[in-house]
Symmetry: C2
Subunit: 371 residues, 2 copies
Amino acid sequence: MSTDASRRRDVTVADVAKAAQVSKAQAARALGNYGAVSEDVRERVLAAAEELNYRPNELARSMNTGKSNTIGVVVGDIENPHFGLATRGITDTAKKSGFNVILVNTDEDWAAEVDAVRVLLDKRVDGLIVAPASSVETRHLQDVHHSGRPLVLLDRTARSLNVDTVAVDMESISHESTRYLIEAGHSRIAFISTLRTDDSYATGLSLGSSQISDRRDGIMRAFREAGLKEPDDLVRFNADGPETIKKITRELLQLPDPATAIIASDGLIGLSVMEAIQDLGLTIPDDVSFLMYDDFAWTRLTRPPLTVIAQPVYEMGVAAAEALIRQIQGRKAPAAKPEFAATLVKRGSVGGPSGGKGSHHGRRKENLPAT
Amino acid sequence: MSTDASRRRDVTVADVAKAAQVSKAQAARALGNYGAVSEDVRERVLAAAEELNYRPNELARSMNTGKSNTIGVVVGDIENPHFGLATRGITDTAKKSGFNVILVNTDEDWAAEVDAVRVLLDKRVDGLIVAPASSVETRHLQDVHHSGRPLVLLDRTARSLNVDTVAVDMESISHESTRYLIEAGHSRIAFISTLRTDDSYATGLSLGSSQISDRRDGIMRAFREAGLKEPDDLVRFNADGPETIKKITRELLQLPDPATAIIASDGLIGLSVMEAIQDLGLTIPDDVSFLMYDDFAWTRLTRPPLTVIAQPVYEMGVAAAEALIRQIQGRKAPAAKPEFAATLVKRGSVGGPSGGKGSHHGRRKENLPAT
DNA sequence: GTGAAAGCGCTAACAT
DNA sequence: ATGTTAGCGCTTTCAC
């Protein structure tokens, strides 16, 4: 029980100084521990501060130092565990270095993102970590970079932007996964993504998100290398709600020449795709093979367990934060920038094709859950 | 291309004022739009600001106004979709009212929570939304409340704290769910929770989290009402990593008088419990019945789909934000504080105790070829 | 309506 | 080592 609990005005250095019988400057030095302060004074000031329950006003402090000790994080969808994990990596790392994190959700909406970046800048964050909704519309990020504020891109790269970027090599893992499907006998492989684009798909179309276009490129390269016809008609974007995704899935599966395998571009999409498949009364992997990005824990619980593309999300969050903090502290870039690789985790959702055409069951299923 | 892009110092009102040939005060008024400004001046100032690419310094602004237009949110685990969704409800609502959100993760660690609250207060947030790790150790929250800063509790209540709280009636839904299990024939029902506590379980033990103690109370009440012996030996806490949870699950299932039904206190626990059950070669609901809190999308994808307790998490986030903003704006409490109710979503993971004979909950496609 | 000047709470010269 | 005096960029009296 110290003195009276509630106080109208906040306690300031001036109050502490008065109580400790020293100048405001000395009190400030002791409190902020910088400059030279004698042991005696330091003790008196700290005691007074304690007694008065003094709390520094970080705003005022930030205003003169120019540092807010805060980093801003802009993600598309905090509800998505993918970002949840990444965010955790960021905050854990930031905390370790004494930084706070301001999180802003953009709903993968470009305008919201522009806004978020502006707000964060106005709040004078020391740096920004952004998972850009678009890899093409990056004016707002260019501005950040040009203004000299530390910036790190997460998850998605932006070619026109020469800034630290923490992301996995999507083209390569996409290629590997597709080859895996092709080797399992598939030649009608669909790809569903949330990417918002007005244009309908066309080969070589410049996509707004490098992440997605890299995946598409990987898929198509695998097809070309296998000498197969590229399944351009099975690439679908704008898969935004569960209903849309289900509808797309149904279409894909009921085409005259239907998809025999589906790749979901993230866990949320995967969820709806699987529901649609179940609703259709189809079985994985007998009727359709399924592969998805994001190795969520629940993917081990389904029957069969899902074959997924795992990304070291938490570690990427950590790396992004580290890179940003390094920039903020003005240290030079690390010797080698960490390379993150996604891995194909083969479980049980990929089998051979069986659709309308020749269903060669010759190929054996993946390792099924032990009974 | 306006003038030179990068500038050493930020543009301030003074710069704008000079450019617009007015006093600093007038420029500030026009920019912050308050006070009286003539049309002519306003236009000139705005034009100049635009030209100079002026951005207000929110820190300085906050310093005089005392408002930061920011609300702080403290949650235990951002990685948990439960909080992810709630957070989304909060940010969506906050944005609508022009508030920004600072998110801090505490890892359900009490010390980290105390720290988080302090940091947020130091940053002069306008208000706080906290999902308290403990319902007992609430000194830091008491302080917040006493200091007059708006505060809203989310998810968990704190009896000793008379502040706006947004949470569901856990005792009641827990009671309902337990009765449901009892009616299905179970009398050996286990409950697993992450709650950190040093004491081993004992009836009536005062638990740190009201959420958890309410659930336990609901369970026990159902047992008493049914005239059954309360399964005190099946209540387990400190279930913190996947391995711990699996171990606990195994123990529970291999007791001389084993549990025939398990209630997982959240989705993350549920995941590991299910894995353990699968590892044991047991089948749900034939060998064990399973019920869990949180209606995550993937619970519809398992075989059988899971019977869960759904909470209106997003709506609760919205309500919490609304309540907080109301406090911040000094408006009075609403006529009736919204009551949130969890609902028992009966799917297929609950059956009878001795081998699915009481399995009246199956749906059509539920018992598909799991093997 | 407008401008001069006084802060907000703190840090940062600059003296002493 | 300590105190004095300026600011940081903005809002806010308070005169005019």
